[in-house]
């Protein structure tokens, strides 16, 4: 939940379902994602554009914050103990980061394949190929893919460890807001979650809004949500001040 902060918007765009894109986001920017029609999924990966060997690390993100789900107050960690971005607001409440993404074979098994030849841009794009295409634009390849975030997708775990996709709260208009703490390369796609039970390939649009984030206050919710995050912010601040990441700021 929480703050609809001063929402100056520099750029707004809509990605229809089954598409991919990438962008670099500067430290101090905010990115809001809105599930326009309900039931969207946004696959996302994060890299340090100055050294893409530093990348989003889902296990560190989860274990540093003793969480399985992602929601407001959580920070997304790189493998170097630093924070790419913080989740400053979230009306969805639960985002997955352990189920990976769809593949061409997986889409064909689950929903049937629609090839480009017959369907043009209404083909059944998959998350794996989407990440490879976007990553390739920055010299990244198969070896650089990692466990991604699946925004808006809720996957719960039973006592025996069984995973299940929970579509109950997938209402239209849900949004989540990220505040970037480092300059970050973001790869994203709007391909469906691999466990989405929809009988047909879900093609759900997402609205992206970019603008300046409000300055971080002393009582910042993300920094103070856990003592680990105070240390994560300290590591990030050291990196920002230590020279190579300053770049005209």
């Amino acid at each position: 939940m929480e703050p609809a902060e001063s929402a100056e918007v520099h750029y707004e765009t809509t990605l229809e379902g089954g598409k991919h894109w990438s962008l670099t986001v500067r430290s101090g920017m905010r990115l809001r994602l809105t599930d326009r029609d309900g039931g969207a999924n946004v696959g996302m990966l994060f890299y340090n554009p100055l050294n893409p060997l530093e990348r989003y690390n889902a296990p560190d993100t989860l274990k540093c914050q003793h969480t399985f789900k992602l929601t407001r107050g959580h920070c997304l960690y790189s493998d170097m103990g630093r924070i790419f971005c913080s989740i400053t607001a979230d009306t969805a409440g639960w985002h997955d980061t352990v189920c990976g993404t769809t593949t061409r074979q997986g889409v064909a098994r689950r929903w049937g394949e629609r090839r480009y030849q017959e369907f043009r841009n209404d083909w059944t794009q998959n998350g794996h190929d989407a990440f490879l295409v976007e990553g390739g634009k920055y010299g990244l390849g198969r070896r650089d893919l990692a466990a991604n975030v699946n925004w808006f997708s809720k996957v719960v775990v039973a006592a025996d460890g069984a995973l299940s996709f929970d579509a109950a709260d997938a209402a239209a208009g849900r949004w989540v807001e990220l505040r970037f703490e480092m300059d970050t390369l973001v790869l994203l796609h709007t391909c469906p979650h691999p466990l989405d039970p929809s009988p047909v390939y879900p093609r759900k649009a997402v609205v992206l809004e970019l603008g300046p984030a409000a300055p971080m206050a002393e009582d910042d919710f993300c920094r103070n949500s856990r003592p680990e995050n105070a240390r994560g912010f300290a590591n990030t601040e050291l990196y920002r001040r230590s020279g190579c990441a300053v770049r005209g700021k």
Partner: protein
Amino acid sequence: MLRASALLAGEAMYRQIVPAGDYWLDLVKSGQVLRIVDLEGNQAADTLFFNAADVAERYSAVDTIREQGNVYLSCGTKLLSTAGNVMLEIVADTVGRHDTLGGACAAESNSVRYALEKRTMHACRDSYLLAVAEHDELGLGKRDLTHNINFFMNVPVTPDGGLSFADGLSGPGQYVEMRAAMDVIVLISNCPQLNNPCNAYNPTPLEVLIWNTDVR
């Protein structure tokens, strides 16, 4: 699921003790059976697998748990690659549950989890980095050190979405055994972590055994 193995240690073609804080890296061929023994109990074996014929194809935690529909690994689990192929299958397990959510410890994540000063403590990723540097003929590097398995580690997920690092279910002499379905390079870091109960604050040796069963 618990299942003891019929294989006898005396008939193994290979046996090696791996002290805590060391790594073990070797080739396991298709059809061979690999056993990892928690010699003294409550140890964590942080393990990665690579297709020996194409190291860009490697163990994928997310594909493995999604396709089996369960976050815990045990007997019957097929360990899948990033290309969706079966790399190995767990064929015996006296513990019942192994983790693949928590990843490996690193100097940097230790600094976040425990204290900034802990960044100088030995960590699994340092063992991994040394392993790939000492075996640069394999062409592996930092980008290949991804989301691993923590054999013998117990990381329960709660219904409300929490994650905890609980005292291990393992004990002295417990083991997990897997049969390779392709030639795999196995990289194990015997976890040196001193800051959490995953190894009872006391890292201890592992043993690795390999049997030639029906090698193709």
